[in-house]
């Protein structure tokens, strides 16, 4: 039974957002007997509600509140009001994610040390030793049921993977497999095995892919210690004269506003909404926004260096069949500056349905160059590039006072310029990705530009020193002891890996820290 808590109950931990960070943290705290109110802006959808139709599902799940963009990234031209493709629902973007679950490489925790001074980059080491994360990664892998970890077997390879694997081997790549995926290869944790249905991005109708929506959230609720309020959109965090946060103002589904009191507040609204909320909570005591004495709130926005390569062959592939992200090449994930850039990247298969392929293959493209590509849709294979991008202070979330959301609050503007290192890495990855397919007979290849961001990182970054970032090694803000950040906005640097596993591992770790602090009376 979900525990109902009073608005005036100031003993609860309030968590804002229920995705990989907030959803996991809510359950972990609830399992420890801590009272939690989780406020989720979106509605509650379960596998039976998911829609295997790209645009219809997008309308159901995507975060479509007003946003603006600026900078030299192509997304600002092609999708000016949609900087990110993320989810507004209980479970957040764990509904949409592909399931790739990779640990950071050791050197990536210390980017500043290992990459040196990169001009224009605001690099910093994470204040965490990689060995501190080993056990938390193992816990996260077990929670998510990650294939190829523990005793879990890998998923079988689909058609898109077989083309990718053959091309990779022809090029001499050796670290090629069907990935470490939070998708069951066999029945596991009361969830069934993958049925190779496709539409992983639209919510897994079998529940074979891990999502907080149908694992951590209901398990937390079952303890009686967690109340999830859906369609509860947080507008502002309030604080007292001592500078401690005391509660949050939110709007319910009918637009009525409520004030939920809190002992501790954890912000997990993702790297666009989390800093926006801190900025929108500015007060006379904190005129630049909460937890922003460093001026770093909203800065260092990272989105991973991304892009895609699609290729057409003279015979059918039918890439849409089966797991959307069905395999990985890891050979380029290493740090090897001889390639002309620092950091590395992963190549991961990806498939889009015809409707999204038309929207994303070459946004704005038209005429026969474009349509002849789609004529080859059935014969197409595809991969996605995900690599480490450089944090830059000027890539940031700011408040757009000329654009208001449905509550009259300034919308976020997302500014992003590619760093020269990002461009060099993307060009290398395009070249390698195209070579993979040309090695097995592609007749035409397409270096496809980045989609709206799914990996949004870094805008409340973790730092050892208060002047360099927003939160400490536990995600606790340097400025306000009972205010935490619990999502990917904590990331000091982005690493090459898909971020969800690390967000989950940090949330499990943060729950231990919060519980210990509550027990010893520090919080």
């Amino acid at each position: 039974m979900a525990a109902p808590f009073e608005l005036t109950d100031d003993s609860v931990v309030v968590i804002i957002g229920t995705g990989a960070g907030g959803g996991v943290l809510a359950n972990e705290l609830a399992q420890k007997g801590i009272s939690v109110v989780a406020l989720e802006a979106g509605g509650r959808y379960l596998p039976e509600d998911y829609i295997n139709d790209e645009w219809e599902s997008f309308g159901q799940l995507a975060w479509l509140d007003a946003r603006s963009t600026s900078g030299d990234w192509r997304v600002a031209d092609d999708f000016s009001g949609l900087p990110a493709w993320i989810v507004k629902a209980v479970g957040g973007t764990t509904t949409h994610w592909a399931g790739a679950s990779l640990r950071f490489q050791d050197h990536e925790w210390k980017a500043k040390t290992n990459y040196g001074d990169v001009q224009g980059a605001n690099l910093l080491d994470w204040p965490i030793d990689p060995r501190e994360m080993d056990d938390y990664y193992t816990k996260a892998e077990n929670k998510l049921g990650v294939t190829r970890t523990g005793d879990r077997t890998g998923l079988p390879g689909n058609n898109n993977f077989k083309v990718f694997e053959a091309g990779a081997k022809a090029l001499g790549y050796s670290e090629v497999h069907t990935g470490r995926m939070a998708i069951n290869s066999t029945e596991n944790d009361d969830r069934m095995a993958c049925q190779q249905t496709g539409f992983c991005f639209q919510g897994c109708k079998w529940g074979a892919k891990w999502s907080a929506a149908y694992t951590d959230i209901p398990r937390g609720e079952a303890t009686g210690n967690l109340e999830v309020r859906d369609r509860a959109h947080v507008l502002k965090i309030e604080h007292d004269d001592s500078g401690k946060v005391t509660g949050v103002l939110y709007a319910d589904a009918d637009g009525n506003q409520h004030l939920q009191k809190a002992r501790i507040i954890c912000v997990a609204g993702n790297s666009i909404e989390s800093p926006r909320l801190l900025l929108n909570s500015a007060s006379s005591m904190f005129p630049d926004g909460l937890a922003n004495s460093s001026g770093q709130v909203g800065r260092n926005y990272m989105r991973h260096m991304t892009g895609s390569v699609y290729a057409v062959f003279d015979k059918p592939v039918k890439m849409w069949r089966g797991t959307t992200m069905a395999g990985i090449i890891q050979d380029e994930a290493r740090h090897d500056p001889s390639r002309g850039f620092v950091g590395g990247y992963e190549l991961e298969t990806l498939a889009l349905g015809l409707p999204f392929m038309a929207a994303f293959l070459d946004p704005g493209g038209w005429g026969r160059e474009f349509t002849s590509a789609l004529d080859g849709y059935e014969n197409m294979a595809g991969l996605w590039i995900v690599g480490e991008d450089m944090p830059q202070e000027t890539n940031r979330i700011t408040l757009n006072h000329d654009l208001k959301d449905q509550y009259g609050l300034p919308a976020p503007n997302v500014h992003f310029d590619d760093h020269p290192n990002d461009v060099a890495m993307r060009n290398h990855a395009y070249k390698q990705g195209m070579a993979v397919y040309e090695a097995v007979g592609a007749t035409r290849v397409f270096p496809t530009p980045p989609y709206p961001s799914t990996h949004n990182l870094g805008t409340n970054r973790m730092s050892e020193k208060a002047r360099d970032g927003v939160v400490n090694k536990h995600g606790q803000t340097h400025d306000i002891a009972n205010l935490f950040i619990s999502d990917g906005s904590q990331f000091t640097t982005g690493a090459a890996e898909n971020p969800t596993l690390t967000i989950v591992a940090l949330a499990i770790r943060q729950a231990d820290h919060i519980a210990a602090q509550m027990v010893n009376g520090t919080l």
């Binding site: 295997n52 139709d53 790209e54 645009w55 079988p156 390879g157 689909n158 058609n159 077989k162 083309v163 053959a166 993958c194 049925q195 190779q196 249905t197 496709g198 539409f199 109708k205 079998w206 015979k315 059918p316 592939v317 039918k318 849409w320 069949r321 089966g322 349905g353 015809l354 409707p355 392929m357 038309a358 929207a359 704005g364 038209w366 005429g367 026969r368 474009f370 349509t371 789609l374 004529d375 849709y377 059935e378 097995v440």
Partner: protein
């Protein structure tokens, strides 16, 4: 979707139609394929405007294996009270551009390369971008066109592809 053969008989259509140019005929309140394989009633736009818009849609996203009716379906929503002024003005500008290049009108411009040249000259206009952007969903999100590209749509209702060829590639 356009109404196939509409409320008019094929014979009536052909008798009452005049050539609009391109592959279309028009009559009072309708546009039809020149062989009357389908017809679409228009309420707010001039029938010839709709015929031109359908041709423009095909020239933006030309797929020779897609019949005109799919393009007609993709732009049908512009036949509305709200959209008609902007569309009539946009098509008038398109025709003026064609005339400026020595053609009678856009739809009378016989070679695709010449029509594409006309479109290139206005591709940054809000009219062109509205029509092009609308087609991305208007054309490619029609479930009826998916099989014509080989795309199978949802598979959940059939139990996915676990037993239906997720790994059936035989040439790699």
């Amino acid at each position: 979707m356009p109404q196939k053969k509409s409320t008019l008989t094929r014979r009536e259509l052909l008798l009452r139609s005049v050539a609009a140019g391109g592959a279309f005929v028009v009559g009072a309140g309708y546009v039809a394929d020149s062989d009357a394989a389908w017809a679409m009633e228009v309420e707010h736009l001039q029938p010839k405007t709709m015929a031109t818009l359908i041709q423009m849609a095909r020239d933006i996203y030309p797929h020779d294996h897609l019949a005109d009716e799919f393009y007609a379906a993709a732009v049908k929503a512009y036949d509305s009270e709200d959209a008609k002024d902007a569309i009539e003005a946009g098509i008038a500008a398109l025709n003026a551009a064609a005339t400026g290049k020595g053609f009678g009108s856009y739809i009378d411009t016989q070679w695709e390369r010449d029509r594409v040249d006309i479109l290139r000259g206005m591709e940054n206009s809000p009219f062109f971008q509205t029509v092009r952007g609308g087609l991305v969903t208007g054309l490619y999100n029609q479930k009826a066109v998916w099989p014509l590209f080989g795309y199978e749509g949802e598979s959940f209702s059939k139990g996915g592809y676990i037993d239906r060829g997720f790994d059936d590639i035989n040439w790699i």
